[in-house]
């Protein structure tokens, strides 16, 4: 459920107007790490200057490896725009004997290598031709990922509808116990693809809205959580069948929309981050399933959705950003190992987990740290998969 954020995904609605001419792929030039360039350029700092070698490369991902050979008065190299006015990448704090570097994607054009303090403190650097594979559509690994994601979304929305139907059948039959057991199962597919549903904000509110978001008007509070409130807090099914009918209608509308939606790798990556952000804000607090306390199963839905995105993008990321992928995998492993300590069989209401309200504040904080670390790592893959 979206808390007033602007949906990150814009599938089929609009496209992000990105026309970046340079992209830094290391988050901080000061780390001195460089990764996965198509071309490597050596920049040696000497008292005379910092001529790049080679001085001309083809457009694409370029790793600059900077070494200070013997220049006492020079300690950094910068890549600047052709007029020198903007720093696009840099490596600082290199005293004689040290090396480091940075990497980024460059389009065709003329650039400057700058090394303040040297006798000749600027050198020209040229990037030729068009960037190989100028759009993600030309990379088979990315197009396959996007196709896979579209199928994943559609499958989950279909499952959402059939699971909700079973849930509603129990409600129509007046079987509260069975409805309670089916409630979390019905929701999980939605939690897996929620950022997509959030594109259509009204639908998200109708399916997954909370009392306080966006309205505190009883008549406008509908969807899963209104039914949840009826069953767990008010202990009644009165009014639930009509709500269920409305819920199913909204889910079918969602299916129609997602079936014709198109996605991009950037949207997938941003959506994965969004899912884990969602876990960080709504699940850790127990806010989402406040009446039923089945938050753990929603939690696993969010993680499933993010994991699927990473899995689909893995063939590409393995090639272009192996270290980012390794970090994502490590953070996920940490999170999953924490979650596993709360698994029970059959668990609270057959969810496979303990009741969320039994998780102590200190344990929630630990979970929160693991969730945030995972989200932070996920947020860094978007740059590798966009044009």
């Amino acid at each position: 459920m979206n808390h007033g954020r602007i949906p990150v995904l814009t599938a089929g609605i609009a496209t992000l107007g990105l026309v970046a001419s340079a992209c830094s792929s290391t988050m901080s030039a000061s780390t001195g790490t460089s990764s996965g360039g198509d071309a490597a350029v050596a920049v040696t700092l000497t008292p005379q200057g910092c001529a790049p070698s080679p001085a001309k490369v083809a457009a694409g991902h370029i790793a600059f490896n900077v070494t200070n050979k013997n220049a006492d008065a020079v300690s950094e190299a910068e890549l600047r725009s052709s007029d020198g006015s903007h720093i696009l990448g840099e490596q600082e704090n290199l005293t004689p004997g040290l090396s480091g570097g940075f990497s980024l994607s460059l389009q065709a054009g003329t650039y400057q290598i700058s090394c303040p303090g040297a006798a000749s403190s600027t050198a020209t650097f040229t990037v030729t031709g068009a960037k190989a594979g100028t759009t993600w559509q030309s990379d088979a690994r990315l197009t396959a990922a996007v196709r896979g994601y579209a199928a994943y979304v559609t499958t989950n929305v279909n499952t959402l509808i059939s699971n909700t139907q079973a849930f509603c059948d129990a409600i129509d039959a007046g079987d509260m116990a069975r409805a309670k057991l089916l409630y979390p199962t019905a929701r999980v597919p939605y939690e897996r693809v929620e950022p997509v549903a959030e594109i259509w904000g009204d639908l998200d509110t109708a399916i997954d809205g909370r009392w306080e978001n966006p309205v505190t008007v009883a008549s406008q509070f509908v969807g899963f959580h209104r039914i949840e409130q009826l069953m767990w807090e008010d202990d009644t099914l009165t009014g639930a069948p009509a709500l269920c009918t409305g819920l199913l209608g909204h889910e079918r509308q969602l299916l129609t929309l997602v079936t014709s939606a198109t996605y991009s790798p950037l949207e997938m990556a941003a959506g994965a981050t969004d899912l884990i952000n969602e876990a960080a804000t709504a699940k850790i607090t127990g806010e989402e399933d406040r009446y039923s306390n089945v938050d753990f199963i929603d939690f696993t839905g969010n993680i499933d959705g993010a994991r699927e995105v990473v899995t689909l993008l893995t063939p590409y990321l393995k090639a272009v950003a192996p270290s980012a992928l390794t970090t994502v995998a490590a953070r996920l492993a940490t999170l999953e190992s924490q979650l596993s300590t709360y698994k029970r069989s059959p668990g609270y209401d057959d969810t496979g987990f303990v009741e969320y309200s039994t998780v102590l504040d200190a344990q929630r904080r630990q979970l929160s740290a693991a969730v945030n670390a995972y989200a932070e790592a996920l947020s860094k893959i978007s740059t590798y998969v966009s044009d």
């Binding site: 026309v19 340079a22 992209c23 901080s28 704090n93 290199l94």
Partner: protein, 408 residues
């Protein structure tokens, strides 16, 4: 890196016009006038870490962090190396990093764009637990770095106690100080996690002869006799770790002790003036010791009044804290007033003194506080609710980094 060019904040987004999405907002922010008028830059690199002997700034953001379970020594080292680079940049008024794309989260969180560094200092310290068996640092652990013993008049809240790593960010601009801790924690996400965080809104200590002594929340000047950063002999004798340490890598560093001292402000405000003055041993308005007329007059701890009692009472704070009554023991104080709003139980102000002190051996504080905690008249109005001890390494040269310095 010789540039102390604060205008580089304006270069936030790299080549102008390359970022169609979101770029415009940043460009506007960067061209606006600055939030502070103080362009002062305190050098990050040097023999000692800045933020100890350097002139105390008005604002504090202080965070302790714990290393996440399962983190490798290599990951911790790499993070600390990144941190020293980022800290150096921020002290020069630069962003943590520059954004050249709109399809990735901004490298810097951005709230300090347009703010001058305002004398930002970033001081790191390492807690006793960092030297356990997790990272192979046990051989680098100084003998003096152990958990503080239980001390009198403390009621420690685990939420404000301990930590593997401490970051003290001080600036004359509160936003700049906060930005520093926030961004370092963000860079470290997954490797470190917040343990606790406190903001200080007014310095309570003076470390420079150019500064007037500020007042604490009780309205008193309580730092008149502090060691000043310029007093080299006193600094070497009492503050900087020297040849006496069993860990040569720490020479030029200092031990940092933090005590979050809750003041019962409402009770204090109801005490009559003469008693308030007796509690401290100073006049409230002038700051002069009860035996003198000027703030800087040396207290006469032997002076007695006609009835035979001490003019500066036997349990007065300045008597019990004085080096004259503690075998010459001294520490450098660098604390701040803090508040966390309202005590949820009592509805009273939850604030006091965020005490930070530097010394060459933690035993200096332990001895002082054992005496103060047992008989200080001030104890009726305060209790220590948070506590931590950290070993702050010496300063870095421009070619050194924190991780390499720690791991050797």
């Amino acid at each position: 890196m010789e540039r102390q060019n604060v205008s580089r904040r304006g270069l936030l987004l790299g080549a102008a016009g390359t970022l169609a999405a979101g770029g415009a907002g940043y460009a506007v922010a960067a061209s606006q006038s600055t939030n502070t008028s103080d362009a002062g830059v305190v050098p990050f690199y040097g023999a000692n870490q800045a933020g100890i002997a350097t002139t105390a700034q008005n604002r504090l953001a202080y965070g302790t962090l714990n290393v996440v379970d399962g983190t490798s020594a290599a990951d911790l080292r790499d993070l600390l190396n990144q941190w020293s680079g980022a800290a150096a940049r921020m002290t020069r008024g630069e962003l943590v990093g520059q954004d050249t794309r709109a399809d990735t989260p901004p490298v810097d969180t951005g709230e300090a764009v347009g703010s001058l560094p305002a004398n930002l200092t970033v001081t790191i310290g390492y807690g006793p637990d960092l030297f356990d068996d997790r990272f192979g640092l046990a051989p680098r652990r100084p003998r003096a770095l152990t958990q503080l013993p239980a001390l009198p008049n403390e009621d420690l809240d685990p939420s404000y106690t301990g930590g593997d790593i401490a970051i003290q960010a001080c600036s004359d601009d509160p936003l700049v100080a906060f930005h520093t801790v926030r961004n370092l924690a963000r860079i470290g996400m997954g490797v470190v996690e917040h343990n606790w965080l406190e903001l200080g809104f007014g310095r309570t200590a003076t470390t420079s002869a150019t500064q007037a002594t500020p007042r604490n929340l009780m309205g008193f000047k309580d730092g008149t006799r502090n060691i000043l950063g310029s007093q080299t002999t006193l600094m070497n004798d009492h503050v900087w770790i020297g040849a006496e340490t069993d860990q040569p890598w720490l020479r030029g560093g200092s031990y940092q002790i933090v005590r979050r001292i809750r003041m019962f402000i409402e009770n204090w405000d109801r005490d009559y003036l003469a008693d308030q003055q007796n509690v401290f041993g100073r006049q409230k308005t002038s700051g002069a010791p009860l035996t003198g007329s000027q703030e800087t007059d040396t207290p006469d701890f032997t002076a007695r009044s006609a009835d035979g009692s001490y003019v500066i009472p036997a349990d007065a704070h300045i008597r019990l804290a004085a080096h004259e009554t503690n075998d010459g023991l001294r520490i450098l104080r660098r604390g701040y007033s803090y508040t966390d709003g309202i005590d949820p139980v009592s509805g009273t102000l939850a604030g006091g003194l965020f005490f930070i002190a530097y010394m060459k051996n933690p035993a200096q504080f332990i001895t002082l506080q054992t005496g103060l905690g047992a008989s200080d008249a001030l104890n009726e109005y305060i209790t220590h609710t948070g506590s931590a001890l950290f070993a702050c390494p010496p300063g870095l040269t421009v070619s050194q980094r924190w991780g390499d310095q720690l791991f050797g």
